[in-house]
């Protein structure tokens, strides 16, 4: 029996639009794996995106992000909102496999039908998220989620992809995250809308909060100043306040046009990525690509070409 791939996509889309969760999971897989037809799927569902509030959660390993996610999910649900979670963990550079262990901390919300949790492995991407996290977020948005929580891998100071993909970014630290010099370093501190010191019952917590407030105070007037909060996620201390602050900031961004400008940046970056991908495919994944590459490598070895003359010829050959 012949199954037409286009019919499969079409059937899948219908089930997705009917709100079927298994179809949602399948569409996510299609998009995550870049399976044939994935761009068509994204194109079809794109008009339904834009409603979801995208909240990013990042910070060093062990800061308690996953526990905080579970609390935030519960708070969103008590407000009657549906919520999608994307939890990212690193792919092993040696085996290509991954242990996706964020879900472990979200047992309490596992069977709530207003919650959808998807674990993603980075699959080689280095900015703290997977290469297709943006597109998976698009899928959850199109499905109708009110809120999206995107949890990055445990990051250092320079994995900052989340700032481009979320409307609001929360950076979670723990009292052991370092002294005041650390807080001045670029990157992670600059992308935060909210800075949270979690595990606030640990020694050094008030000092950490003070160091962060000092750092924020050093910002130039007119620069956006992040809010500094204290939480103990395990017993929900400070979490309702964090959720309220997340809402307040989102409303503020909405009313000042900040949200529109963030989304415009996101669209621009994403468009460039989609086009770059097409160009890469045209250059390296089309028929004859491998032979073309091998031929030029041989010519470079034989000193008949340099990579630079070869480049010009390849571009001409592909009409670029």
């Amino acid at each position: 029996m012949k199954t037409n791939p286009r019919e499969d996509i079409s059937a899948l889309l219908t089930r997705f639009r009917n709100g079927e969760r298994r179809a949602l999971a399948k569409v996510i897989s299609h998009v995550e794996d870049h399976r044939p037809g994935f761009e068509e799927l994204l194109h079809e569902i794109y008009p339904q995106t834009g409603k979801a509030r995208r909240i990013g959660l990042t910070g060093p390993p062990g800061a308690g992000k996953s526990t905080m996610v579970e609390r935030l999910v519960e708070l969103a649900r008590s407000d009657g909102e549906t919520i999608g979670v994307i939890a990212v963990d690193p792919t092993s550079p040696f085996s290509g496999g991954a242990l996706l262990g964020d879900r472990v901390r979200m047992s309490r919300v596992q069977t709530d039908s207003g919650v959808f949790i998807r674990s993603m492995a980075t699959r080689g991407s280095l900015g703290g998220l997977a290469g297709t996290t943006e597109e998976v977020a698009t899928v959850l948005d199109a499905f109708g989620m009110d809120v999206l929580l995107i949890e990055t891998v445990g990051v250092g100071q320079s994995e900052l992809d989340i700032a481009q993909q979320a409307d609001e970014t929360i950076v979670v630290l723990v009292p052991e995250s370092g002294d005041s010099v650390q807080t001045l370093k670029a990157g992670l501190m600059e992308i935060a809308d909210i800075l949270v010191v979690n595990k606030a019952d640990r020694q050094g917590s008030p000092d950490m909060v003070r160091a962060l407030e000092d750092m924020v105070g050093l910002r130039k007037p007119g620069d956006r100043k992040p809010v500094v909060l204290n939480t103990i996620a395990t017993n929900n201390t400070g979490m309702p306040e964090l959720w309220a602050e997340i809402r307040r900031i989102y409303d503020e961004l909405s009313s000042t046009g900040g949200l529109l400008s963030k989304r415009r940046s996101r669209i621009q970056l994403h468009l460039k990525k989609v086009v770059d991908r097409q160009i890469q495919n045209l250059l390296w994944n089309s028929s004859g690509s491998r032979e073309m590459l091998e031929m030029f490598v041989k010519k470079i070895e034989a000193e008949e070409e340099t990579p630079y003359t070869a480049c010009r010829k390849i571009m001409n050959h592909r009409g670029l």
């Binding site: 298994r22 870049h34 496999g97 991954a98 242990l99 980075t122 699959r123």
Partner: protein, 144 residues
């Protein structure tokens, strides 16, 4: 360069009340080292929680560890719910303290191979990889 090619996704869970997770963790790590993406869902999962996670994560394989003796109730319940939700193409496998006769009975209900304590992780990896290959072959045939 980042790759997005599909990987084998496996859910590793402990179902029921037993709290010994060392075996499950060893398997989870071994599967990761074999290149699979392992969603580890931890202790005290009910069949409903396991099935819900399997659906959301769109896994190829569900691996359940049961050391409490409740396998004859829990495994069929998981299988039944997976089938009901249209996930009958997911491999349900697992292990723990399960007598051979029970393994045979469960196999008749469509549950995959089950592994006793001390099984070499290489055997489990080989089983999953073989099952995936067979599934791919079958799907290719159906498309023709």
């Amino acid at each position: 360069m980042a790759t997005t090619t599909g990987k084998v996704r496996v859910l590793v869970s402990k179902c029921g009340l037993d709290g010994h997770d060392r075996g499950a963790k060893i398997i989870a790590a071994a599967l990761r080292d074999a290149g699979m993406e392992v969603i580890y869902s931890g202790l005290h999962q009910t069949p409903e929680m396991i099935v819900e996670a399997a659906i959301q994560e769109d896994v190829n394989v569900v691996g359940v560890s049961i050391l409490s003796g409740a396998h004859m109730t829990l495994l069929p319940r998981i299988k039944e719910q997976l089938d009901e939700l249209g996930a009958d193409d997911v491999l349900l496998t697992g292990g723990g303290i399960i007598p051979e006769t029970d393994m045979k009975t469960l196999a008749k209900q469509g549950i995959g191979k089950l592994f006793g304590p001390g099984t070499d992780t290489a055997e489990i990896i080989a089983y999953i990889e073989h099952w995936m290959k067979q599934k791919e072959k079958k799907e290719k045939k159906e498309k023709k």
